[in-house]
């Protein structure tokens, strides 16, 4: 899987490349409009992460270029402006998702995964992690082929963990993923703990191993062992 990251801020670009490379993606990056245009012209990627505000050009024009060439590629727009117009404009020009800066890398990772899944399997995809199987399109979860019932938030949580398996996920990333901007006003994330406890209980009770690890103070890690 090849990903092109178009971001003018060097350190952010490096961070994104570093995080996504760890996931096994082949990441390339472009720091300005022209470099991006060149790479889009020469190579093919499965997914593009496009910053809207670029020196010497707009990310929207790049999205149009990508769409002209390859209609099957996934596109995530990244914008510093949390504006509905940008979001709508982005989706109209053919991008699949929209992220507002600053975002968590775990969030970007989950979005990239979700897009690639949708693009590559065209609806017949499933995520398998040992005895756990998730069918994202039907929002179903199976343990040892037996379906288990999760609440909407628990399902989202599990999918988020699976997308970032083996990585330490900061707790505010989890909170933001599940509750969005509402979390900005929360004075503590203690309630997330309760939520995760419930998910863990459901998984273990239905025969799954306990893959959820608490990383001291910071967050959680979903991994084997």
């Amino acid at each position: 899987m090849k990903i092109l990251i178009i971001e003018d801020e060097k350190e952010l670009r490096k961070a994104m490349v570093s995080y996504l490379s760890e996931e096994g993606y082949l990441c390339e990056s472009a720091g300005d409009f022209e470099e991006a245009l060149e790479k889009i012209g020469i190579y093919n990627y499965d997914c593009y992460v496009v910053d809207i505000m670029l020196p010497k050009g707009s990310g929207f024009d790049l999205v149009k270029e990508i769409k002209k060439k390859d209609t099957n590629a996934g596109i995530i727009i990244v914008s510093a402006k949390n504006s509905i117009e940008d979001k709508i404009h982005g989706l109209e020009t053919g991008s699949d998702d929209y992220l507002t800066k600053p975002f968590h890398l775990s969030e970007l990772n989950a979005r990239v995964k979700s897009i690639i899944r949708r693009r590559s399997f065209k609806g017949n995809n499933e995520i398998i992690f040992n005895e756990i199987k998730v069918m994202p399109d039907a929002r179903q979860v199976f343990i040892n082929d037996k379906e288990i019932m999760l609440t909407g938030k628990e399902y989202d949580l599990l999918l988020f963990f699976l997308s970032n398996k083996g990585r330490v996920i900061p707790k505010d990333s989890i909170a933001e993923h599940l509750w969005g901007d509402y979390m900005d006003q929360a004075d503590s994330f203690d309630f997330i703990y309760t939520h995760i406890k419930n998910l863990r209980k459901k998984l273990v009770q239905n025969g799954s191993k306990d893959y959820l690890n608490t990383v001291y103070g910071i967050g959680y890690k979903f991994q084997e062992g």
């Binding site: 952010l12 961070a15 509905i84 600053p102 006003q185 004075d187 503590s188 309630f191 309760t194 910071i218």
Partner: protein, 430 residues
């Protein structure tokens, strides 16, 4: 008091004073002149009588007319001509009448006579008495004139002033921007209007640059914050971090989170100020409130807060949906954040009001500062002091009223959707 009344008052006061004083002076002056002329007439008459007496034989108590009395006096005490005013009973009129009388001694050989000549002052007095109504009439005439002229002045001459005043009253940086110069035929008003134009240009310019600064600084802050956050995320993936390292990283995460919230809040405020939420629609506040409460239910449970929701009627408000959502969620999250463990929240909604009441520690800041930026009442790490400032800004934008009441340990915030503040400002006449 209106300027025109104030000046009129002085004019009228002065007029009244001059008229009153003038009337008194005038009265005495005329009186003196009248009496002088009466005295002159008396004197003439006396001269005539004395001339006559030189020829005629004097009989005791000679009375050639009712107003002339010549009598013999025994005691001789010489005195010059004596003019006095006396009041005597008038048989015909049956009342006391003022007379001017002249007394003079006349010596005829050994005998001394006293000549008394009198003249009624009735006519002179009636002349004086008619002076007062004339003056009063004059005063009323001036009064009427002052009013007519002032109304004209107020309508015509002061028109540019009142029109400018009206514009200043309605002045709103975001809407009016600059009050342009308007020429009038009065130099002072031209100067005033020119100064107002210059001043508002200056203010608006400062406002724009400050707004731009706010916006730019918030935008510029985003990238470094994003870098710190993302680098930390990569850092924590490393397997060989000690517990102490993680503790440090956790503190950095907290700080970055606060920065992020602060940054988002400032950006939101500048967006509202820039009027970037123009689209409005009819919003079902009841539904929106329920959704938001649902999103917060875990936090409410976590703090073991008792939640009471009382929806009295449907509530549909024309507003921007994003801002309405921010408004209600900020209020609810505030009620949770500043609540006590096992506290209470009571929410009431009808067509006109949204009231959120919560238990909490007493306010440490003055209530009037509650809605100002960076006025924090708690030491909560995730409280940056922008939540209520944003709430206030949204309320101002849609002309909702907002009110805070503190009763013992209960804090109540009410949003009035149909605020009386929405009524147009009072118009000046003229």
């Amino acid at each position: 008091m209106k300027l025109i009344y104030k000046t009129s008052r002085y004019y009228l006061g002065y007029t009244l004073m001059v008229l009153a004083l003038g009337t008194v002076l005038f009265y005495f002056l005329i009186r003196i002149v009248l009496i002088d002329s009466v005295d002159e007439a008396l004197h003439q008459e006396q001269v005539q009588i004395v001339e006559n007496l030189d020829y005629e034989k004097i009989i005791d108590s000679l009375a050639p007319s009712p107003n002339i009395l010549i009598r013999h006096v025994k005691v001789y005490k010489p005195y010059p001509e004596k003019y006095t005013t006396v009041r005597l009973y008038d048989e015909a009129e049956k009342e006391l009448v003022s007379y001017r009388q002249l007394k003079k001694l006349y010596k005829d050989g050994e005998k001394t006579y006293e000549i008394i000549i009198r003249q009624s002052l009735k006519e002179a007095e009636s002349l004086l008495a008619s002076l007062l109504p004339a003056v009063a009439g004059l005063f009323l005439f001036i009064l009427g004139g002052v009013f007519v002229i002032n109304t004209y002045i107020s309508n015509e001459v002061w028109h540019p002033f009142y029109s400018l005043l009206d514009k200043l009253k309605r002045y709103d940086l975001a809407q009016t921007k600059i009050i342009p110069f308007e020429r009038s035929d009065i130099n002072e008003f031209n100067e005033l209007s020119l100064s107002v134009e210059k001043m508002t240009k200056q203010i608006y310019g400062d406002f724009l640059s400050q707004k731009e600064f706010n916006e730019n600084s918030s935008h510029e802050m985003q990238t470094p914050v994003a870098i710190i956050r993302n680098k930390l995320e990569i850092l924590i993936q490393s397997g060989n971090l000690s517990e102490e390292d993680l503790r440090l990283i956790d503190s950095i995460f907290e700080a970055v989170k606060r920065l992020t919230i602060l940054n988002k809040g400032l950006l939101l405020l500048s967006k509202i100020e820039n009027n970037q939420f123009k689209e409005t629609e009819i919003i079902n506040i009841e539904k929106m409130t329920k959704n938001i409460l649902n999103n917060f239910c875990l936090q409410i449970e976590e703090k073991e807060i008792t939640l009471g929701v009382n929806i009295l009627s449907r509530c549909n408000i024309r507003c921007n949906s994003i801002l309405a959502d921010i408004l209600i969620s900020n209020l609810i999250s505030n009620a949770i954040k500043h609540n006590l463990k096992k506290g209470k929240i009571h929410l009431e909604l009808d067509q006109e009001h949204l009231t959120i009441e919560n238990t909490g520690n007493p306010l440490k800041i003055e209530p009037e500062f509650l809605f100002e930026r960076f006025r924090k009442n708690s030491d909560s790490p995730n409280s940056v002091g922008l939540g209520l400032a944003i709430v206030k800004k949204i309320c101002d934008l849609f002309q909702f009223g907002i009110e805070y009441v503190n009763e013992k340990d209960m804090h109540r915030i009410t949003v009035k959707f149909n605020s009386p503040k929405a009524s147009p400002p009072e118009l000046m006449e003229g």
